[in-house]
Symmetry: D2
């Protein structure tokens, strides 16, 4: 990955800060003749949009996406389709409420990137977090919506599977539940518990971490590559590039460290639909290449460092001081990472689909 671009054959370049007039991205390498309009993208942005419950920041952004290029009405059908040219996407920033930044302008918030931006660039955009704003993820979600259209046979879904120390009961997993609670939680009972749990954290002005799981069904066997372009290596990079993510695992993940070879190796039988694995510790990837089983990725999101408790820090001049972060924030930023993780999975799969087709031709 290079600065603000990711992907090889399906390339996404993003730009923009929450403070400026707009954010956006360029999607390059999309195949031609794929039906595409704003209506294919907007629902995913709406799902990511904050302010839909008391558990996400109250910043209000319509996040209305505009396609600036790369599409035209098909000469025969009249349906708007991609042309093979780069697709420019723009999302205006609307909710730029004028704000007093004097408190954070000169102090480094612990756990934020304030100190490191300053160390790297010699200055930092303290207005709204600059490039580290969660707002940047809207452009990923838009790109992910296009990626999904390249592989319509693949279903990419995400869910919150842990909040703080509380794991969901995986035996109660129901994908339909995900849309019915503000946590993208597939376990109804855990969702009910999280409501109280997170309210407590929110009222204290505190925050908590989470674990997100993304599953792609319908991925054909053969995507990926053996060594540095492993499907799992690219997924690890893609998920780790999301704000606040501190860990990524595939299939059994860190649990695989505790398994014996007998337990871990997924046995294979034949079925009417072809080869069938009896388990999926591999998370759908062996040797960096997809097996045809569901591709399963989990990532850990740290708690936001924007909290009401004062924390010790220093200022730009090197003086010791304290800081307390007021304002609109998420008690569990992991929640909003669910649609973002889905988008990154979709982009990585589309990229590898095109790369595979290039090298192998089928």
């Amino acid at each position: 990955m290079s600065f603000n671009m990711f992907g090889q054959s399906f390339r996404v370049t993003t730009f923009g800060e929450s403070h400026g007039p707009a954010i956006g991205c360029v999607v390059d390498g999309c195949p031609p003749r794929i039906a595409l309009s704003e209506r294919d993208i907007q629902p995913f942005l709406d799902r990511r949009r904050p302010g839909q419950s008391r558990f996400t920041t109250q910043r209000q952004e319509p996040d209305a996406v505009k396609i600036l290029s790369g599409v035209m009405p098909h000469p025969e059908s009249g349906v708007q389709v991609t042309t093979g040219a780069p697709i420019g996407l723009l999302i205006d920033n609307v909710d730029q409420r004028s704000k007093d930044y004097s408190d954070i302008k000169d102090k480094f918030r612990p756990g934020h990137a304030d100190f490191t931006y300053e160390a790297k660039y010699g200055l930092r955009d303290y207005r709204g977090g600059g490039r580290s704003s969660a707002r940047e993820t809207a452009t990923r979600v838009a790109a992910g919506a296009i990626a999904r259209k390249i592989m319509p046979e693949v279903t990419v879904r995400g869910a919150l599977v842990q909040m703080g120390p509380h794991r969901i009961d995986r035996s109660k997993w129901d994908w339909d539940e995900v849309a019915r609670n503000p946590f993208f939680c597939p376990d109804k009972d855990s969702a009910a518990f999280f409501e109280d749990y997170l309210d407590g954290i929110r009222k204290k002005g505190s925050s908590i971490g989470a674990v997100i799981e993304i599953v792609a069904d319908g991925v054909p066997a053969g995507l990926g590559a053996p060594i540095y372009a492993k499907l799992d290596a690219d997924l690890a990079s893609a998920m780790m590039s999301i704000n606040a993510v501190k860990g990524v695992e595939i299939g059994a993940g860190f649990g695989a460290a505790e398994l014996s070879g007998e337990e871990n190796a997924d046995e294979i039988r034949m079925s009417n639909q072809g080869p069938k694995f009896l388990s999926n510790h591999a998370g759908g990837i062996l040797g960096g290449i997809s097996t045809g089983q569901p591709v399963v990725v989990r990532f850990a999101v740290k708690p936001t460092s924007s909290i009401l408790t004062p924390r010790r820090t220093i200022d730009r001049g090197g003086q010791e001081t304290e800081i307390m972060t007021k304002g609109r924030h998420d008690p569990c930023v992991g929640i909003r990472a669910v649609p973002v993780g889905e988008a990154m999975m979709a982009c990585v799969l589309a990229d590898h689909f095109l790369r595979h087709r290039g090298q192998v031709g089928r």
Copy 2:
């Protein structure tokens, strides 16, 4: 990462299988006038070399590296230095004992990449694992040795911190212990325990997973970038590209999911040496950019799937069958991943050092 190359400014391209005449790599982008000879590389290869204890495969390879290009005696000092040209490295394959592959030629070993290679390429190199052979990692270790010379102020060290369900006692961590036991284990008591534990697994013809930790001390603040070129995203990709790795985490990692914002945000004070963090949950990286604290990465290695217990599988013709993997194998492949993880850390840091210097100029 692209196929068999990784890095942007410090680029490593590897090739070779354990079965062919040699493996090797090309290191491109190395700064000129850095002292470099085989003696700088060989010790790291020796450390990775299998067959040094009964706990790693008994394959015997001298792994003698040859520098084919990119160096010359300095016109004044006569010391051999880099020229800025690509550095070609070659390691001959010596121990190619003639072997009967008839058993695995047509059967897919569960947990191995046999099925996926075949699905992708329509054939696979069953001789010695092809590109998925652990042998490929020798070239990474060689490249890592060069990377270390670019940033001599940085110390990269690795250790095994968990074998199966058994975690080391971190209060007993002693880097000097790492060289004194066959497990790269920094806790003397755990190392003694692992000796018996792994002997039991080895004698059963079974295998077990492990967790490896890599720490880089002396990394200056400012390496990395905010979004897709995050230092942690590149580390995640680099570690996940190592054979058998199923999870990667930075700093508190998955543990961060269980923390509150107050616990997780590392507070900052001033010291005589400049800013000083009171903890390092961030693992030395905030917003994708190094903080100046130690960079800490952990990764989980699954147990090798080469085990003596027969496992159910299918063959190339789609017939159900069983397979048992005989031969020279590692009861815990995680052990040999330690020098490899160190090398990947060194390469990623060198790459980001050069990228940073390019953009920011200091």
Copy 3:
């Protein structure tokens, strides 16, 4: 170069068609703390803007550029500077006069990319030329303006040196003349001649080719690399990527084929300012690396194929037919290529400056 992106360390990704709402680009990798506002970019766009004489298309576009991201007021000086984040640039399309495309919708214009787009993508955006519209070059000019700010010690200038078979008199070269005629011609007398000459062509509804020369003064010795990242290789690619360019040469160029080794090799003497070359057949580049002399590139621009004379062609259905291209067009598109060539030179130099600083560190 990859699809719609060019550069390695200074990366420009462009998007947009003349028919859509806007065109734009993302400039990635720009160093931080460089003063930058729209006022640094707009003058270059104004210079490229068509409709300023009767010799360029009468399409009227204000080409007002907006910076969407990557800048902020410097915390101390208040001057707007780059932050190191990607710089999003947007230029609205204003003059989208509704037009009847029925004539060209189904016919392939000879000399245009109509046939090849259709062959590649299975459809083409016949509205305004799609990505092949000269309008795309506005985004390059905007990016080039930023590139110039990275190397303020370098002066990049361009001139038209040939129109049809008529070469300028190089002994009359005066850079100041370039701004005084509508042809960017440095020879006053040739400019006067071209006025009549091109009027004749314009009135016939015909068109003519041209040769453009771009010169960069002040380039330090040492930019570039020996083999595939040669400065001249990147310049060749950059110039050839401009619409209608069919040839590129460096220094003596094709003339070097006619020279002897004695004539061609530029001898070196010492001067008070250091090494001094007695001639510049090399065009400022030896072995792919800059010598410190002016970098000199020339490129040939073919005549536009939009002409009033009917030409034989086929339609999408494979039927033979004729076509005549009406509408607003340039009798010599080479004229408008001058600011574009300058921009590409500036971008390539900035890219190599950052790449060199990364590898060599000074």
Copy 4:
């Protein structure tokens, strides 16, 4: 292109100097199941090999290529085929006659890259030219041989079409002649003339430039891309990356500057074989995409600067001096560029073939 690598989907990374033990390259991204052995590559190396006539350097190198990886016997047919893994190629340096470099060690040869290497890297490998040695081109020729196997329907051929001021008579073009004279000249009479002409130059210890033309027949319509990944932009870069090349043109090239729109635009008719162009001023490329006509590229090669006449220069210490280059050299290095230009054309086409198949899928 990046340092020592070129291509996106078909990637070639080269290393090695003429002075070291070996040169080589890694070909990455090659499709699997393509028959490949040394016998497919060696004939192209033999054609490039110097010392076959008195008109090329008398350095004697067998240039025997070894395939180190990426191939295996096909499980059914037993024929050696590619596996999809990277193909490592090695060519030993044999003729390293011990030589006295004291004369050039400290002096910059005019027209050579001595001065620029020193300016860039702070030192240079004066032994045999370092990376700028024509020897590096052997690895390109080897990679080109593999590229040809990816598109067997395409025929790539090259010829010398001008030596010094003397152009061949294109009406006498006979591809069969190319193999019958030491100049790769397709015009028998010009070849006879060149024999005397070049002998005169050789005996004087002088040198002369040349123009080479490369033609690819059988390229399907649709390869390439509109803007920065134009087929002609990549060809320009590829040819300009060859030693001593100073200019590149496509189709009518610089001649297009002198044409009117009516003359330049190739008209289209239908034939039994589909669309048929009545001329090929475009050189088989429109808008960066192949038309299905022959792809035609020409490039100018400067005379080698290794000549017997003393030339004025400076030394490393900045003292004025003279230098005369003794030793084994080519009176017209353009001759040996013919197989190299073919190889670069083959590599660019293979790369675009795979990229096109990735994006468009057919």
